[in-house]
């Protein structure tokens, strides 16, 4: 073998690679509108749990209701609905519509989909959304398997009747969440868990899935059988997946992406990007907080927890660390929820903090057992934790240790209650304060603080059954006051912000709703003639 033949072999090899490359081709550049998304874990509405999947599902499927830009539920597949005087029976009247394969969509599709969501064998992460339905929670927990005892009926093809165990005034909100979308029984029975794959999937929303490549993207085309297809301006859209902010930002800057959320905003560039016209920061329905493990000394003493809370200066954190439109938190429930007035914590009060710690038996921090703040691996959490550590040092003269764990280890540790303080956050599933507060009941698996208060449990029960919005708001406020203010089980730090980049001289309908869902139904180019 001589050098010349070695080189020609190498060149031949390189030439052979080219067909292999074309086999991996995506058509991301061809879509009308291209947006950033994390890789969805599933496109099955019955199994979805996170925002990445929910955003795609909300554009592939349509439930009984859809949310408008203010998250108010509007008619979707249901053209109207009535609620009985006792708030227990909801009757939905469905419009005539079909699946993307032309099969008519009926109320029985909804009944079947919701029973599937509740079926314990489905193991849905979102089944609790339907626990207000009569017999649903028991069915979901496997305590009975009689679907006729679950209050979901389809008396005719265009009517769905839902009987609730107790009033759920926000039930229409729930009907607009991705998990309550209908799923195509015929495809699921034919294709099993492969039914969400391109070529297999049938959907009923404004778009159909035509291609998907893991860790690359999803390609959507307008569903010409969608009931309101004339209102859909985009003929196609691509969800480009990527989890590295710098790479995503580069793609946005070079015109390969039309829209990115915070996943395309490198933290190091925030100060620069904030000044640009395509920077859009708005409030997000989510709160960053710390959990206190109330079973462990010294955090089993409410005064110690309150002292830690009163030492936190959230304003410094949003000004110097997060810097992208976040707001220091004075409550757990974010402020922009209509019909609910959140509590007002007194904020950064060093004097009060020192007094509380002294009352708990630790004047000047002396004798206080060691406290550790547990965070998951991220530069962002690390920086916030270090500022908090400094604030506690300056205010209370105590040393809080920071412990860092990889994500899965962190969630497992918190679940087992093996921590003192742990960072946490909560993102609303729908626009309702109850969503932030019911997790603090003794039975909630999301509580994870050891906190258990009979009075709070009964308030949570009462609020779930209260039909009058004003009275319910008062009950919820009382829960928040007790859990956050009086017991200081959680220490709010800041409210999240949505930070999107897009050019609104080119696109309309991209103004984010408080859950940053990106509803493609609303997106249209300002200059259609200049579309790709």
């Amino acid at each position: 073998m001589n050098v010349r033949s070695t080189l020609s072999t190498l060149l031949l090899g390189a030439a052979l690679l080219l067909p292999g490359l074309s086999g991996c081709l995506g058509n991301e550049t061809a879509a009308d509108f291209r947006f950033l998304n994390l890789e969805p874990e599933t496109l099955d509405p019955g199994l979805v749990g996170g925002q990445a999947g929910g955003r795609i599902i909300a554009n592939l499927f349509e439930g009984l209701c859809v949310r408008d830009a203010q998250l108010v539920p509007q008619p979707g597949i249901a053209r109207s609905w009535q609620v009985s005087a006792d708030g227990l029976t909801w009757t939905f009247h469905l419009r005539e519509s079909s699946w993307s394969d032309g099969t008519p969509l009926t109320s029985e599709d909804f009944r079947w989909s919701w029973l599937r969501l509740l079926d314990p064998m489905t193991a849905s992460k979102s089944a609790q959304l339907l626990h207000g339905v009569r017999g649903a929670e028991e069915f979901n927990a496997g305590r009975h398997d009689d679907t006729s005892r679950v209050g979901i009926r389809a008396p005719d093809a265009s009517t769905l009747v839902v009987e609730l165990a107790h009033p759920v005034p926000w039930f229409a909100d729930l009907c607009a969440t991705p998990p309550l979308s209908p799923v195509p029984r015929q495809r699921i029975e034919a294709a099993g868990n492969r039914w969400t794959r391109p070529g297999e999937i049938v959907s009923n929303g404004p778009f159909c899935l035509v291609d998907r490549r893991l860790n690359q993207g999803l390609y959507l085309q307008r569903n010409e059988r969608y009931w309101n297809v004339d209102a859909i301006a985009l003929a196609s859209a691509a969800a480009i997946t990527g989890d590295f902010a710098n790479a995503n930002f580069n793609r946005y800057e070079s015109g390969l992406l039309d829209w990115v959320d915070s996943g395309g905003v490198p933290p190091a560039l925030v100060d620069h990007l904030r000044e640009r016209d395509d920077w859009h920061a708005t409030p997000f329905l989510a709160t960053y907080f710390l959990r206190c493990n109330v079973d462990r000394p010294p955090l089993d003493d409410a005064r110690v927890r309150q002292a830690l809370q009163a030492s936190i200066d959230g304003a410094a954190i949003v000004q110097y660390v997060t810097r992208s439109g976040q707001v220091a938190a004075h409550s757990l429930v974010p402020p922009q929820l209509p019909g609910y007035e959140e509590i007002q914590l007194s904020g950064h009060e060093p004097e009060r903090a020192r007094r509380l710690l002294a009352e708990a038996g630790y004047p000047g921090g002396k004798g206080l057992p060691a406290i550790t703040l547990l965070i998951s691996t991220s530069q962002w959490h690390r920086q916030i934790a270090e500022v908090l550590q400094q604030q506690w040092r300056d205010t209370l003269d105590i040393e809080v240790r920071i412990q860092n764990q990889e994500w899965k280890v962190f969630t497992s540790t918190v679940r087992q209650g093996d921590y003192d303080l742990a960072r946490g956050s909560w993102i609303a599933d729908y626009a309702d304060a109850g969503n932030f507060l019911e997790i603090w009941s003794t039975a909630s698996p999301n509580n994870r603080t050891g906190f258990s208060d009979v009075a709070v449990d009964s308030l949570i029960n009462a609020s779930a059954r209260e039909i009058d919005p004003a009275r319910r708001a008062l009950l919820l406020q009382e829960i928040e006051r007790r859990v956050v203010q009086e017991q200081a089980v959680i220490l709010p730090v800041y409210y999240f912000a949505i930070t999107n980049l897009y050019d609104d001289s080119r696109w309309e309908g991209l103004e984010p709703d408080p859950l940053n869902q990106l509803d493609l139904r609303r997106v249209r180019p300002r200059h259609p003639e200049a579309m790709r």
Partner: protein, 305 residues
């Protein structure tokens, strides 16, 4: 040769088995599991999921079931990507990594061998010092610096190349160069050392004494033997290009094996992580074997044992 191949194949099976068993046990010993999520699962849901994926069985039973599946060519379903099997995920990602890795290796050889040859032929002269300096810079500049630097210049400054993604030949150039540059530097140094060793040997002097042209001496006799260290390096280098491409994959949004592997490990996607370990192990074993065989072809003095 054939008995050598048989012997190698016979040692490969127990080696792979040991790798699978050890990785399986290590994976399960790591704290946290695939269903430890941000929002805590209802205990009933968790139990159903664990039963569905067989995680409720004793560990050794799970290992047995996994090995039985392996024998039938079944790598199991992914825990994270619902509805996708590990085999098809790997089948999608492996060609991407292969194209990227092979191009990077090609660039490494294309740049490294001439640079090393040049340095050896101008030993201790200006050309040698220049080539060595270039190689040193190549070794010292890490991926995560070189990648963004190339993006800045070739994407944003000149607009010649796409910023990332995967699909067109143009999208391969920057990630492959980033990945190949360090290896090019190593290849240059190895070529230089290998050639210097050979240049001083008797058979080279004999070749020159017989009046062969210098070009023939270098290309036909010196380079052939001088490249042996490079060849030995290519086995582990190919493997490290495939495994170590995760940084480059992230910088250029390339959907290759590296990102799947890292994410699978972080997400406790047990089956996908195991599948990735398996594919990497097989690649490493196959590449090492290939290198041993090629060494023998290049230099008949090499004994296959």
């Amino acid at each position: 040769m054939s008995s050598y191949l048989l012997r190698r194949a016979a040692t490969t099976v127990p080696l792979l088995l040991a790798i699978v068993v050890i990785s399986f046990l290590f994976m399960r010993m790591a704290p946290g599991g695939p269903f430890d999520l941000d929002q805590e699962l209802d205990p009933v849901v968790r139990a159903n999921l664990e039963a569905h994926y067989g995680l409720d069985q004793p560990l050794l039973t799970q290992l047995g079931l996994y090995l039985r599946g392996l024998l039938a060519g079944d790598l199991g379903p992914s825990f994270k990507y619902t509805g996708y099997g590990v085999r098809e995920i790997l089948a999608q990602a492996a060609p991407v990594s292969f194209v990227l890795g092979a191009t990077a290796l090609f660039i490494a050889l294309l740049l490294g061998i001439p640079l090393g040859t040049l340095a050896a032929l101008h030993h201790n002269q200006r050309g040698d010092r220049l080539a060595s300096a270039v190689a040193l810079v190549g070794i010292c500049v890490p991926n995560f610096v070189l990648g963004p630097l190339l993006v800045l210049v070739f994407v944003f400054q000149f607009g010649w190349l796409p910023v990332g993604g995967w699909g067109s030949p143009a999208q391969v150039i920057l990630p492959a160069f980033t990945l190949g540059a360090i290896r090019a530097a190593y290849v240059a140094r190895l070529t230089r050392t290998g050639m210097l060793d050979v240049l001083g040997q008797d058979f080279v002097r004999t070749a020159r004494a017989k009046g062969l042209r210098e070009r023939s001496v270098v290309l036909r006799h010196v380079l052939r033997i001088g490249l042996l260290p490079v060849l030995q390096y290519l086995g582990p280098a190919s493997a490290s290009i495939l495994v170590g491409s995760v940084v480059v994959e992230r910088i250029f949004s390339v959907p290759g094996l590296g990102s799947f592997f890292i994410n699978a490990a972080l997400n406790r996607d047990y089956t996908l992580a195991m599948g990735s370990v398996l594919i990497y192990s097989m690649l490493l074993i196959a590449l090492n074997l290939l290198v041993d065989l090629l060494s023998r072809v290049l230099d008949p003095r090499v004994k296959l044992q």
